[in-house]
Amino acid sequence: MSARSEPGSRAPQSRTEAALLEPILSVEDLSVRISGLHILQGVSFTVAPTGVTVLLGRNGVGKTTTLRAIVGLTPPAGEVRGTVRMGAQSLLARPTHRLVRGGLGYVPEDRCVFAGLTVAENLRLAERRGTSPAYDRVFALFPELDRRGRQRAGSLSGGQQQMLAIGRVLLNDNRLLLVDEPTKGLAPKVVTEVAEVLERVAESVPVLLVEQNLAVVRRLARDAVVLAAGKVAWTGDARELLLETALTKSLLGVGSAEVSH
Amino acid sequence: MTLLDITPAPAPTSPRPGRVHRIRPFLPLVALVVLVILPYSTISLPGIFEGPVNSPGTLQLLAICLIFGGLAAGYDLLFGRTGMLSFGHALYFAAGVYGTDILVTRAGLPLWQAALLTITGGTILAALLGAVALRTVGIAFAMVTLAFAQVGAILVARDFGGLTGGEEGLPLDVSGLPAGLVGVTNTVNLYWLALAYLTLVVFVVHRVSGSPTGRVLAGLRDDERRIGVLGLDPYRYKLVAFTLAGGLASTGGVVYVLIVGGASPHITSSELTLSLLVMVVLGGPGTRWGPVLGGVLYMYLDHRLTAFGTSDAVDNLPAVLSHPLSQPLFVLGTVFILAVYFFPGGLTSLAPRLSHLTRSLKPRTPPN
């Protein structure tokens, strides 16, 4: 990884500028109930067609639930209302595998590598018909995956599994990536690496990211959506959020000093 | 399904929720009292039972249903509450049936001795085989228990020394039995015996699952490794559950042989274990009343469908329908399949849904 640009010099389009572009994803009044619990209560936000939009919030506010609702993975006991559009296309009624083939990549929270399959098999599974898989891209990012091709994914360490989970998605070209807490459980060095990877990925593909590590958020995110109690509590420019102590304090419960450790 | 028709329709003037709540803990007791005095009633429920409730045929059918309700509840201690899928539970039931039968008929022991010996023997058998089988987990455990049960089935079928009567079974010699247990007129006593057995099992299972041990069993069901790391020996707890369930099953066998008046080899078959599993799933695993309901319903259908199949109503249907419908097993199988789609989670899942329905039907009364 080459020298990294200063946070300020990343030439982000301003939020107003980005808003002029059609959002790649728009979520309107999304409601999710699971076995009687009203988990999301009318969530609306948009994801800009470039860069990283980050979804923030305390444990249990429904970030994962939001991502899963978008890719159509709400458990059978759940009930989803509202609209989710990618471009002109409405997503909610379509089966997950169609959405994914249509270019919606999803990296789940708990990694979900196939424990019984080898690393190579996990990757092979992610190949999509009719496209050539970008193995070099993946192996350049995670040489470990190349080396451990024959190991069962279940015996990988936590961090290695995370690499595999991200690697699987990067094998293909996507129109939008949904990534749920990719740096959870990773060594600091790998966190940096993953952040860099996502940064580079985000140059070509928009990313909707759920992340608890505010350092990563600060580095990557341009737009932020903050959830609280099943509703959107704040949307806006991510750096604005992170720089305003009052805002971070009230929305995320941390002072900005802790943000920039 | 006649049985479903009698589920009470939501009454328009149902008591206030508060009151229901207060009598709720006593409902099982009320049910028990009703069941105890049931034989004093001469109500006829045409279509549901052949004769009046106090006729020997009906009492016999009810007794068998109750036994299997208890058996299923005992099996649920393993399956629904501890998460152990045993495919050999029939063995311990069969040990109860054949043990009593052989000791009474071949060895001429008095019933109480035979019963005591059998229950002790069945429990020890469960403890020994469980001690071996529990070295495995999951499907391997299921198969090892199946293997043991198969050996039992083969031994019964081989009819060593003419002890078991092979495929013909062994009728119970009633000459040494207490007079109150013999003869059609005394069927009511067998019914009460079966009811006592069911009550015993439900009470034991309830107490055990509410006990500290029961809590560990529930934990085992979710994550055995975690139990170990908390400092509890999973093996010991599983063995306790296995032995207890085995003992309850043998006890059921003792009562069953009295009710049916003999042993026949199909009770040793893996199909019986499978039926127990079906009963539990049908009713709702891990629930207090689910397995009992499942067991009772299963046996009721199993016995009554033969009558249904030969009834005029079926005979008068066109052949495409009447042929399959006159096969009891066809109807039974179809009921299972439908049950999965209409009562996912078992029959007991019906109760909350019904009450949900009542609530939504009831006009909202302003709170005061």
């Binding site: 997950t96 789940p108 | 391997a140 999965v340």
Partner: protein
């Protein structure tokens, strides 16, 4: 010497029958994680399909090409039933193992009863080429041709299934799907199709076993499938779940043990030995002969 060869070859014939039944079971049970108690039904459909075709379908018959055609019809019927079962009954129930048990048990009861309602409880003579009733002299042993036919069929089926798993992505998809269906979908794969396919193949293997079992037994009867099922389950488990090669090994062991013990030991000992073998294998190696060690 002749006796040993005879016992070995007929034992292999029996093993082949077990394997044919077990292979489909192993696929469905080991790969799709469905404890399919209705497997015996697919067997029955295959057997009755063949029987019916040989008697009623123009072009089909008990001999030569007509027989091949009849078997093909039986296999097609079994496959179709398996597909329908998967689509209608099993599909909504993946990952609800317990309810699957209820449905497949229900299905096996209802299905067998339906066969009985349609064609009666009695065994019917099975149409088969005359040569299958004859014997071939091998090193002084009179080996039944029916058994040899089973051996050949079993080897072909084994090869075909292995090729399917090795050369197509389906094996992978299915293995992954068993672990986490959602995630397979999230990789853009229609996992439902793959599972239907597994059922279809399992059904086809079972139906073939039913048809060839008919040749072997000389009759069809409604309960035939279920009676073979318990040994098939044992074979699958000894071999290791989902390992078709393991099932093949296990079938050979079980077939030979039964045959030799039944000859040299006392009656019934063969079955007890097989069941004992099952217990011993599982206690020593809970994952079966060819199963992989599961790690946390």
């Amino acid at each position: 010497m002749g006796t040993v060869i005879l016992l070995a070859l007929t034992g292999l014939g029996l093993a082949a029958l077990y394997f044919l039944v077990a292979s489909g079971l192993s696929l469905v049970f080991g790969l799709a994680d469905v404890l399919n108690f209705a497997h015996g039904l697919f067997l029955g459909v295959g057997a009755y399909g063949t029987w019916w075709a040989a008697g009623n379908l123009p072009g089909a018959g008990p001999d030569g090409f007509g027989f091949v055609f009849a078997v093909a019809f039986g296999v097609a019927a079994g496959t179709l039933v398996a597909i329908l079962v998967e689509l209608v009954l099993i599909r909504p129930l993946y990952s609800r193992t317990i309810e699957q048990v209820l449905v497949t048990v229900g299905l096996s009861l209802a299905g067998v009863a339906l066969l009985q309602a349609t064609w009666g409880a009695d065994a019917r003579p099975f149409p088969r080429p005359d040569w299958t009733r004859q014997v071939t002299g091998i090193l002084g042993a009179q080996v039944p041709n029916g058994g040899l036919l089973l051996i050949i069929a079993a080897v072909l089926v084994l090869g075909a299934i292995l090729a399917f798993l090795r050369w197509t992505r389906y094996g992978l998809v299915i293995r992954a799907g068993v672990e986490n269906r959602e995630m397979v979908t999230a990789l853009g794969i229609d996992v439902r199709k793959a599972f239907t396919l597994v059922f279809a193949i399992g059904g086809a293997a079972a139906a073939l076993a039913g048809a060839l079992g008919g040749v072997y037994f000389g009759t069809v009867s409604p309960g035939q499938g279920s009676s073979l099922l318990i040994f098939a389950f044992i074979v699958v488990v000894i071999g290791g779940m989902g390992s078709v090669v393991g099932s093949a090994y296990a079938a050979v062991v079980v077939g030979l043990v039964q045959q030799f013990v039944n000859y040299y030991g006392t009656s019934g000992l063969g079955d007890i030995c097989v069941v004992g073998l099952l217990a011993v294998v599982l206690l020593l190696r809970p994952q079966g002969i060819a199963g992989k060690v599961a790690t946390a």
